[in-house]
Symmetry: C2
Subunit: 607 residues, 2 copies
Amino acid sequence: MENLKRWLIGKPLKSAENDEQKLTKFAALALLSSDALSSIAYGTEQIVLVLVTLSAAAIWYSLPIAAVVIVLLVSLTLSYRQIIHAYPQGGGAYVVSSENLGKHAGLIAGGSLLVDYMLTVAVSVSSGAEAITSAIPALYGKQVIISIVIVLLITLLNLRGLRESATFLMVPVYTFIAIIVLLIATGLIKILTGTVPFQATETVGTVVPGITIALLLRAFSSGSSSLTGVEAISNAVPFFKKPRAKNAAGTLTIMATILGFFFVGITFINYWYGIVPKSEVTVLSQIGEAVFGHGVMYYVLQFATALILAVAANTGFSAFPVLAYNLSKDKYMPHMYQNRGDRLGYSNGILTLAAGSILLLIIFQGSTERLIPLYSIGVFIPFALSQTGMVIKWYKEGKGWLKHSLANIVGAFISYSIIVILFVYRLPDIWPFFIIMPILLFIFYKIHDHYIKVAEQLRLEDEVKLHTYEGNTVIVLIGNVTKANIGALNYARSIGDNVIAMHVSLDEDEQKEKEIASEFKVKFPDVRLSILHSAYRSIETPIIRYVDMVSKEALKRNFTTTVIVPQFVPRRRWQNILHNQTNLRLNFRLSWREHIIVSTYSYHLKK
Amino acid sequence: MENLKRWLIGKPLKSAENDEQKLTKFAALALLSSDALSSIAYGTEQIVLVLVTLSAAAIWYSLPIAAVVIVLLVSLTLSYRQIIHAYPQGGGAYVVSSENLGKHAGLIAGGSLLVDYMLTVAVSVSSGAEAITSAIPALYGKQVIISIVIVLLITLLNLRGLRESATFLMVPVYTFIAIIVLLIATGLIKILTGTVPFQATETVGTVVPGITIALLLRAFSSGSSSLTGVEAISNAVPFFKKPRAKNAAGTLTIMATILGFFFVGITFINYWYGIVPKSEVTVLSQIGEAVFGHGVMYYVLQFATALILAVAANTGFSAFPVLAYNLSKDKYMPHMYQNRGDRLGYSNGILTLAAGSILLLIIFQGSTERLIPLYSIGVFIPFALSQTGMVIKWYKEGKGWLKHSLANIVGAFISYSIIVILFVYRLPDIWPFFIIMPILLFIFYKIHDHYIKVAEQLRLEDEVKLHTYEGNTVIVLIGNVTKANIGALNYARSIGDNVIAMHVSLDEDEQKEKEIASEFKVKFPDVRLSILHSAYRSIETPIIRYVDMVSKEALKRNFTTTVIVPQFVPRRRWQNILHNQTNLRLNFRLSWREHIIVSTYSYHLKK
């Protein structure tokens, strides 16, 4: 087990090695941008798909819509740059909302993002799996299994640690960036040199009959799904090399610039080349064919798209554990999310995310269409809250607040609009969000409540007085009369003033019981033996009843009560299955009793 | 949890209630014969299917083949009746082979049967599921899920206890018996009254060109698969009401008579009516249509067949746990197979069988054709071994042995022949058997070896001398300086002569460490505090290193060493997830150390 773990995730790292594991901007871009960048594989398509429900002539509206998306992108980027500088310890929307809008808003933002990262992983991994199965038709129908395997691989990569996953992810991310740059450049050159004539159905500005504000809003809200993933860097500031905030903000700007350029470029080429969505082929793939022809470059594009979709899941794996860490530090999630694993990652967060996304993959059977609207609502709520939070922050800090918060105001306004649009037009898809969130909030508060109460109970008074007991009653559980008991009885006599051996008789067979009693008397003449009867073949129930009785007496005399449960420790671990695990069960059940201490005496088998 | 368990399997029964749970012959027939009886749903078909590969004219050979099958049935029945009387404690082939042919042969028989019962469950449940999906086409493609649900239901029934499952199973078993009696009677009457003319392709005795011994042998070996399940009663003798052996032998005779009558009747009607197997419709279903017409009775037949196939799995559930119990009593399987559950069934055997058969269903995706040959080899090996064992037994017992063992000799001869036929003609299907068996034998011997060694090590010498220690060193693990430590320190001082508080510092933060040290000094001035450092964020490793050091010193002074690990016991069980389970892990890792006793001090949270 241990060896397998070492082979899979590598040797443990010292806490002091933490700084060596930090990321350069170049590596961070690979690790944290795949989610945002991969969304351009479907962003333009989402807009055009809504528009063509009216007619192909309406496609030109994708250009002004793209412009609004870019405005939103710019405002989000400026806003998150501010957040990075203001909150360099990471935590993004959760921290910003908590500090400026109150705990409740913070938890809504945090909870949304937790769910959202699971959705990110599920959505991107299953898009990746679809790309793989369209390339290798023999695998068709196995998408869910492939998706789960990819999730497991990414989990492993993340358990191995940050730096190693970044190295591994650079290839797909930078290949994708390179091929898209080439695609847009070639496409534009062909337009400028006149190689490709103007093929759009309608020129910009023509009023298409039947166009409605509602349609445009729906197209916009669909297109804005390209912006999911922009917040990831703000959650992951602690992963950067120093100066952390500066490097993180720089990386965010680079990412946003690339994303904006790609989005506008692809939308424009799509319009100019007059490409209409088809159900079998994606828009990006049609553009690729139109620009590169059906050659090698086209296949490189397809392959790079598949890969970046598959690895986009990694963004969730970087951001989720940090967010869980922050929630845990504030006592809203179990403490275990603060533990760092052997390779310095927050392993429990990584494993929880993996389990959650695998569950989503199984429930939704990898159907991405049903997950995307849910995913959008889950990301725009934290967007809106964090930007509102920033506005409040600037306002509180006083002078020049309007200047500082201009980007935030615009961003907040657009984000709220998208939430309203989603609520009005996509309620049938997003209702689960409004069920999950209250449950999550309830859990957060329950956990918080518990931790607060524990802290209160544990607080020491100023005067601490240790108590002195008169003596100790020790009860030793005895199976048959064998060598294993000698050590436990020796130990019991060393700590106890009053030693009782206790045997539970399961058999109705009185003969065997008498044999044990008389054998015990011969071998251990000075130890008292109590034999308990069990009518229901459970050995725990009669033991607990007896121990309760003894401990009541002991307390009266100001004695402690110790129950010693001997256990066999075999030479090899598999042999444990050959022995009763009574000690574990007894330990568990007796732990609910007060004033009783359970000791495990290990008898080591040598052969 | 507890309530759910009660609702599902019922209130616990006292050990003394065991006798009330025993079976009458009528109930036992329902419980133990479904496997054997259900096989007539496919027995004749298996023979005819092989014969028609030559020509429809060859079908008449099914009559002499059926005659040989009947000879085998009679010899097996006589033989198992002898076994029941000779070994009334149950265990069948395993016990007979062990006692007369040696442990090795016994384990081969036992191991084959264990695997075979899993196969029985998988095969019969998936045939049942196929019958259900052909009745309700909407469920087509969900056979594996349906099969698993049926296995779970039968498991539950068996966990509830013997008598209740017998009651439940009487309906399908007796309905099936009634409808088949009616089918054969109606079929014969129609033949005798001349309503149905002789429609066979060829009369008995005609030599069909191209017929070979090999073909006849293959047809015979296929047909003999109808006899699987005959041994079940001999494994389950302890379940019968007293006189056990007599009732069991009687039940076996009744079952064999019914089985023989059904097999011959169906084979004869099939021949007379000239029915040729079709791929879509089973032979039994064709016979039903020919005899009853396409009316209500036909559907009753189909439904009863489906039901008995589904419940045939229950035979495995009755026999497997008893066999596992016998193997476990002889120390070849883990002790836990001897524990009786709340309802007096051997729950661990029941659960193992369920898990194994569900695994088989998933691996083979419910494809029965691939399982049946494997299943035949697994049942004829124990048949052959147990009959050989009986021959040896009679021989050893001396006079008149040949008379006693005549049936056994015939049975053994036919069983060995079938094994040879299977080996020659079906090796591509049965090879997994020859891989699984050596592995299983290896496991049996490994387990046995372990238990024997344990018993040797535990045996007490005649002179037992208890040792007296000079004192006790007690180490208390301390987290932060809180109230939780007071109780543990009090207890430690009561049992120890030398109390050390131990704290593990995970943070590189020296400040916090100093704070804890000074706070501890103020609050508990007379207790020594050791602070350990952990470079790898594991708290167990430094603790173990420190404890090793302390215990070495203690041993030199003839002191015991106790490690006290305080644990939080929250008011509600779910809250356990909010606290570190350090005590469990530490308990486990320290258990590998000798001379160290681990105590759990429970601090009960009140709020």
